[in-house]
Subunit: 146 residues, 2 copies
DNA sequence: CTCAATTAGATTGTACACAATTTAATTGAG
DNA sequence: CTCAATTAAATTGTGTACAATCTAATTGAG
């Protein structure tokens, strides 16, 4: 009766395990991120800023695959926490430049252990993790190594 | 200056490409799902019902990794569209049974081409897709083959 | 039996995502 | 130059996600 190869079975789709995995992994981050008062979206935004120090909203959106509709409220919250500043670019007033503050930079220290703690509970072998990583970036249409 | 192996680089995390991929793939579904008037969450809910015909909210939540806080409004919307019915179980009044209607079942025909159309634009080889699938289910802590 | 503990959904409140629209600044074809 | 087209953010509205709480039904230890 139930065709195991039916294209309609949830288990026969790639989209579903991707969607479920993404949410499950983010849930594993939550208790650690609660400790530094960030949501996952705020955390990945800070990760870009920890590396780049200062970045335009457009470029931030390209990196995170998010648009201004999502980023504007996130950045306003980070600004309210005193972690970033938001200023219009002098060269192009349309562009908004986000810059990490001293407090924002200090948070990086507190976040130090998080990535390792998460990957420790992933149950994947290093080879599987590397392969997963490679395939996901292929799907995203970007090179894995930047 | 920028350490390519820093655990803080977005590119060195698994969580980020998972999160970005999940959203990108769902975005690829959207134009097709618009055609049958469903959101992605509504679509995967209907997929379970197309296979099972009738299922409790608890079991639906286990399958989809979603709780009642998410499912209740989704199921009410599907009920409003006339695609499902929602009734308390006779044996256990705490449990709510969701059943696909005739109209809900008819929608399966309209959705027929969607999975194939999506996978056609994935750019992955069949081997990569299979490997991705296997690793994701390992991460989810479930067996890939149900 | 009986009431405390458990369970299933619903509700509430917060925070994204994202499509669509709006506003303001910049650009470039003529 | 100049105005239509483009671009960057912000805004608006809808729909999830999910933690926390609430309500009602069921269960099970004593």
């Amino acid at each position: 009766m139930n065709d195991d190869f039916s294209p309609f079975r949830l288990e026969n789709q790639l989209c579903f395990p991707l969607y479920a995995c993404s949410r499950e992994i983010i849930k594993r981050y939550t208790p650690y991120l609660d400790g530094i008062g960030l949501t996952y979206t705020q955390y990945i935004t800070m990760m870009v800023l920890w590396e780049r120090r200062s970045v335009g909203v457009k470029e931030l959106g390209d990196k995170l695959f998010l648009d201004s509709g999502t980023l504007t409220p996130v950045l306003k919250k980070l600004e309210a926490k005193g972690l970033v500043t938001r200023e219009r670019s002098k060269e192009d007033e349309r562009s908004l430049i986000v810059t990490v503050t001293e407090a924002g930079d200090a948070l990086k220290t507190q976040a130090a252990g998080i990535p390792a703690q998460i990957s420790r509970c992933s149950a994947l072998t290093p080879e599987e993790a590397a392969e997963l990583y490679r395939i996901l970036y292929k799907l995203l249409g970007r090179e894995a190594t930047v």
